[in-house]
């Protein structure tokens, strides 16, 4: 059984302008994460990937749809159940510096956890658990305990936060851009750490905009665009045989060491438009023109533009959305 199951999760944000329009940040997103599996959620800025992570962590609630953890709907959780939920589901975020209170020592995050979840544990047993968790993230306790956050490197801070999650009986880790603030030399260590944890049975939702990181680590990949799934499936298939023009455009744009960007005929047009038109030209669109998910003037009515493009299975387990032939959004 999946650790986590998302079923048609949508999120509408109220737009800031006066007409009371709404902005669909997520449109009926459905997928699951199994134990011992890393699922990468890839999307550009504004695609709704962080919103999705926040919904799973119940920092915000979905407008419609369900998030099921071990078969239970997390939206229905009361205070006590939510407390238990966080014992199993934890998040680590992009900026480790801002996850700590600079006034206190960094290991205070462990102490707070103890007060909240393990009030009865003996001091010695607790310290043994901390040491085990630090060992799991390849940190030397002598180097990181009893230090202030500014005395630790970004990689150490980030690993300390992962160790904090491991102190709980965590089954699902939401890793939202945890690599992007780190230096190249420490990035890979954190990635390899996630691989090790995955092999020990942890489910990870790895949220990133970096395709190469996603490819390195994940078992399955979900590509999100304008809040809807553009393509998803086993990572090897999505990267090896991309079907959606958007996926191809992203893959072509990734800077690589041993391959130069292929020359683009479209000159210096807006990047999304150029890549997309070039890619879409070779494939007949499966569906006629579909307006971009714009703001809706009235609230409370069923929203036709919330309807995401339908997914079709092109290979076993590899789903692709009908290409939305949209005008490129201004960037």
């Amino acid at each position: 059984m999946s650790t986590l199951r998302l079923d048609k999760v949508s999120k509408l944000f109220r737009a800031a302008d006066a007409d009371g329009g709404t902005l669909p940040a997520l449109r009926q997103v459905s997928f699951g994460i199994n134990p011992g599996e890393v699922v990468t959620l890839i999307g550009e800025s504004g695609s709704g990937k962080t919103t999705l992570g926040k919904i799973v962590l119940r920092l915000i609630t979905a407008s419609s749809g369900q998030v099921l953890f071990d078969g239970k709907d997390i939206a229905a959780f009361g205070r006590a159940e939510l407390h238990e939920y966080y014992r199993y589901v934890q998040g680590v975020f992009q900026d480790p510096y801002s996850s700590y209170n600079p006034v206190y020592k960094a290991d205070r995050v462990f102490e707070l956890l103890r007060e909240e979840y393990f009030p009865k544990i003996a001091q010695g047993a607790w310290e043994a658990r901390i040491d085990a968790a630090l060992e799991a993230v390849a940190l030397n306790p002598g180097e990181v305990l009893d230090r202030y956050p500014h005395q630790l490197s970004g990689g150490q801070q980030q690993r300390l936060l992962i160790a904090r999650a491991l102190l709980l009986d965590v089954k699902l880790l939401i890793a939202d851009e945890i690599i992007s603030m780190l230096d190249a030399s420490t990035r890979v260590d954190v990635l390899n750490l996630l691989v090790g944890l995955k092999q020990a049975g942890l489910a990870v939702l790895f949220i990133t905009h970096d395709l190469s990181l996603g490819h390195y680590i994940s078992d399955r990949t979900v590509i999100l665009r304008h809040g809807a799934i553009a393509e998803m499936g086993p990572t090897v298939q999505v990267f090896g045989n991309p079907q959606h023009p958007y996926t191809r455009m992203l893959l072509e744009s990734v800077p690589q060491l041993h391959r130069r960007w292929s020359p683009r005929s479209a000159g210096l047009e807006a990047p999304a438009a150029a890549g997309e038109q070039a890619a879409a030209g070779s494939r007949p669109p499966a569906r006629p023109r579909h307006r971009p998910p714009a703001r809706q003037p009235r609230r409370g009515r069923p929203n036709p533009m919330l309807e995401p493009p339908p997914l079709t299975e092109c290979e076993p387990g590899h789903l692709v959305a009908a290409a939305e032939l949209e005008a490129a959004s201004p960037r």
């Binding site: 890979v188 260590d189 683009r264 210096l268």
Partner: protein
């Protein structure tokens, strides 16, 4: 020869004494060259870039000089540098996204900046509109406020703005870092386009992302802990790096096509040394798999192949005659007279 930096050292004044962020750096950027400058955070790459255009109050020049077309730039004299800025040397700052005044419209920001350099807005307006069209924006952006533009649009506006007076050297600091991959590509290609159209003659582009440099740069220079580690053309750096640090950096870089089951990448253990109290000799020695007793001496930044400079005893071959060792606390300008840098220039 467009830009020549000789033995440049820049220090930050701190309460605990000078902290030498750029230590005896010598290199040349040719006409039409896009040079990538890469390294870990805190290696001094941004300090080096900004020192070429404006030393801020915390920075001071300890030694060295900067030549632009044979003419020395008065980099430690802010007033004397003023006529050179924007005309000869221009900068796209790190966080260009927030470099634009949020209370002014784009056209007003540009007019203000031009006014500071005694250029009339109307005299460049036509060319500016042409360039704004070139970067894929419409004239309309001129009447917008910065917050109305997306990150990629702001980055392009800043690029047009910085190169409006056709500077000889453009310093582009992390211009692609906060952008999505498709926008990254567009901005990277614009940089090459601007060079090809000679809007800028040479470019130093600073980033921590080697894979971007592999796309846009002609040469790549790697810095480590305030010193130069390696400089060569892009192909040599990517496929035949000589410095162990460059090799380790490249080995830690995940690429599309690399999966953890097949290729296990490794990071670089340890951390860069503190620049307030740098170790003697090669600064990478503590993290270097090849470190030997010789590495207690500072290796010269020597040319091991045409255009390929490396500061490593191993790469240079151990038979290279030893250079007079530079004392560890090389930050004091008087102790710098010993040539820590030995370079053969053509």
């Amino acid at each position: 020869m467009s830009v020549r930096v000789e033995n440049l050292s820049i220090a930050y004044r701190t309460l605990a004494g000078d902290c030498c962020a750029v230590d005896g750096v010598t290199f040349t950027v040719a006409d039409g060259e896009i040079m990538g400058l890469a390294g870990e955070s805190g290696c001094g790459k941004t300090t080096l870039g900004t020192s070429l255009i404006a030393l801020d109050g915390r920075m001071k020049q300890l030694s060295g000089r900067v030549l632009l077309d044979g003419e020395e730039l008065p980099i430690s004299n802010g007033k004397a540098m003023r006529p050179h800025r924007m005309r000869d040397i221009s900068l796209v700052p790190q966080y260009a996204m927030s470099a634009l005044n949020p209370t002014r419209k784009i056209s007003k920001i540009i007019a203000d900046l031009l006014g500071c350099h005694d250029v009339r807005y109307s005299s460049v307006a036509e060319e500016m509109r042409r360039r704004i069209a070139l970067v894929g924006l419409s004239d309309e952006v001129l009447s917008r406020y910065p917050f109305e533009l997306s990150g990629g649009m702001r980055q392009r506006v800043t690029l047009v703005l910085s190169t409006l007076l056709n500077p000889s050297l453009l310093i582009a600091d992390e211009i692609t870092s906060a952008l999505d991959v498709s926008t990254q590509r567009a901005v990277g290609e614009l940089l090459m386009e601007f060079r090809d159209r000679t809007y800028v003659r040479s470019v130093i582009t600073i980033t921590h992302d080697l894979s971007i440099l592999a796309q846009v740069a002609d040469t790549i220079m790697i810095m480590y802990a305030g010193r130069l580690a390696e400089k060569a053309d892009t192909a040599s750096i990517i496929s035949a790096p000589r410095h162990p640090y460059t090799r380790a950096l490249l080995a830690s870089l995940p690429e599309v096509g690399v999966r953890h089951e097949q290729t296990r990448l490794t990071g670089i253990p340890g951390r860069p040394p503190s620049l307030a109290d740098p170790p003697a000799g090669c600064r990478f020695a503590a993290r270097c798999p090849l470190a030997a007793s010789q590495c207690r001496e500072q290796p010269p930044f020597a040319e091991v192949a045409p255009g390929h400079f490396v500061a490593c005893w191993n790469a240079a071959g151990r038979d290279i005659p030893a250079v007079p060792a530079v004392p560890a606390a090389a930050c004091a300008p008087e102790s710098r007279t010993a040539p820590a840098v030995q370079e053969v220039t053509s």
